[in-house]
Amino acid sequence: MSETENNIIRIRDLHFSRGHTKIFDGIDVDIPQGKITAIMGPSGTGKTTLLKLIGGQLKPQQGSIYFHNDNIPALNTKKLYAARKKMGMLFQTGALLTDMSVFDNIAFPLREHTDLPQVMIRDLVLMKLHAVGLRGARDLMPSQLSGGMARRAALARAIALDPEMILYDEPFTGQDPISMGVLVQLIRSINSALDITSIIVSHDIQETLEIADKIYIISQGKVIGHGTPDEINQSDSPWISQFVQGKADGPVPFHYPAPSYKDDMLAG
């Protein structure tokens, strides 16, 4: 009982399809408060779509997504925007605004949503930048940053308004080992220092298993397994073991659906 009360996000019976493609076919997900939860799965399973559904950028055909006590899909624009102020999102590309400097990017949400004096904004921005180690890069433009730095700057922006929850969209993809290590370190320290709930969407198994408290594995529109990293590692489900161990063939077939090889060759 106490476990359900501590869930910041409760997703029930979520259905979402794009055109005729079913992306989610009735999934239930609970995100515990103050923990790092990872959502994993092969590419193309709609992990990013799930983040967009939580952020209210997409509307599901069916089902509910509770953030505290608000059902996100049912909120009007004003309440949705109020809920979003409590969320931060780190996009895969960083999504920094290209026409302003790093400093102005971090200051942007503060300037948009608060009436703080410039001096205070400056202090806050420098604090956030210091936390991600980019205080010296404040005057650079986003185009001058490396991919890893852009992601760190975007992380500083995501925590600018001190959100209760941060959504990470593929934070480790395409990073060199050093910046990967930096990001793992940052996500962990931000989570514990600021007592933030983190949701990580990823398919980088090692890094994710390393920092996550709870893991959901999604494939073909269903949750095929969830639990702590240890439980996932020791799972005997063929799906999970194929994914965790990265086997080429298994329940997720190597071949895209096709007529039998022999028939196809003879048909020519």
Binding site: G55, Q57, M87, A95, L96
Partner: protein, 257 residues
């Protein structure tokens, strides 16, 4: 047979739903104008990128168009001994038609395509999504200031085009071909009416400002967020703007005459 009807039905339904979405978005955007007035900085920045940056091409083109009008007009008018009317010909062509139309076409190529590319890239690089997730409405923050800046800039650019063009015609007609300077200006002033010609030209350019900027902004906002999507949206902006400007010009001229 039924397939054929179904296809017509499908095409018209998707056309009207697109149109409906576009109209709703347009009104949502214009509804933000009132709030924008409290943040003039946003508009100033956009006037800089759509207006100031288009100024050079507009002024240079206006000057050349005026000179060509002077040359062509003179050669035709001199046959009738009516070269004193050169000023009228140059000024009326510019103020009524060429000023608003050519400015709109150049603007579509210079500022419109840049707007589409900018907004399309913001979409492709998730900046628009990022704004939404920061609880900032991209319609209010990105679309509205650009549209308003376009509406403000277009009539100013068209006026510059016409004014510079009249001087270009003067340079050729009076300084080079020897039309009497006094009759160039006085005939012009006698025949060009403030309401009928100048104001109608301004109205046209305001309409073109709304239409071209809107096309640019909408194409960017609704494009497929990939590099091909952005580039084809940019092309569509220029092509659609040109067609709609020329069509609307005919319609407006017919209405105003």
């Amino acid at each position: 047979m039924f397939n054929w009807f179904a296809q017509i039905g499908h095409i018209s339904i998707s056309f009207f739903s697109r149109l409906g979405k576009e109209v709703i978005l347009f009104f949502q955007t214009t509804a933000c104008f009132a709030d924008l007035l409290s943040r003039p900085g946003l508009i100033i920045q956009q006037i800089f990128s759509v207006g100031v940056r288009s100024m050079l091409i507009i002024i240079v083109s206006g000057f050349f168009v005026g000179m060509v009008l002077g040359l062509q007009g003179y050669n035709t008018l001199v046959d009738f001994g009516a070269e004193e009317s050169l000023g009228v010909v140059v000024a009326l062509s510019l103020v009524r038609e060429l000023g608003p139309v050519v400015t709109a076409l150049l603007y579509a190529g210079r500022a419109g395509s840049a707007l589409t590319a900018e907004i399309g890239l913001m979409k492709a690089t998730e900046q628009l999504s990022g704004l939404e997730m920061m609880a900032v409405n991209p319609v209010e923050r990105i679309l509205a200031p650009r549209l308003l800046a376009g509406i403000i800039s277009m009539p100013l650019l068209a006026a510059m085009f016409s004014a510079v063009g009249v001087f270009g015609g003067y340079l050729i007609g009076v300084e080079m071909l020897g039309v009497d300077s006094g009759s160039y200006w006085s005939q012009m002033q006698a025949k060009v009416d403030y309401h009928q010609d100048v104001l109608n030209g301004v109205i046209k350019s305001v309409v073109f400002g709304i239409v071209v900027t809107w096309i640019a902004v909408y194409e960017g906002y609704s494009c497929t967020p990939t590099s091909e999507g952005v580039s084809s949206a940019t092309t569509r902006t220029v092509v659609n703007s040109a067609l709609i400007v020329l069509g609307l010009d005919f319609l407006l001229t017919a209405l105003m005459l």
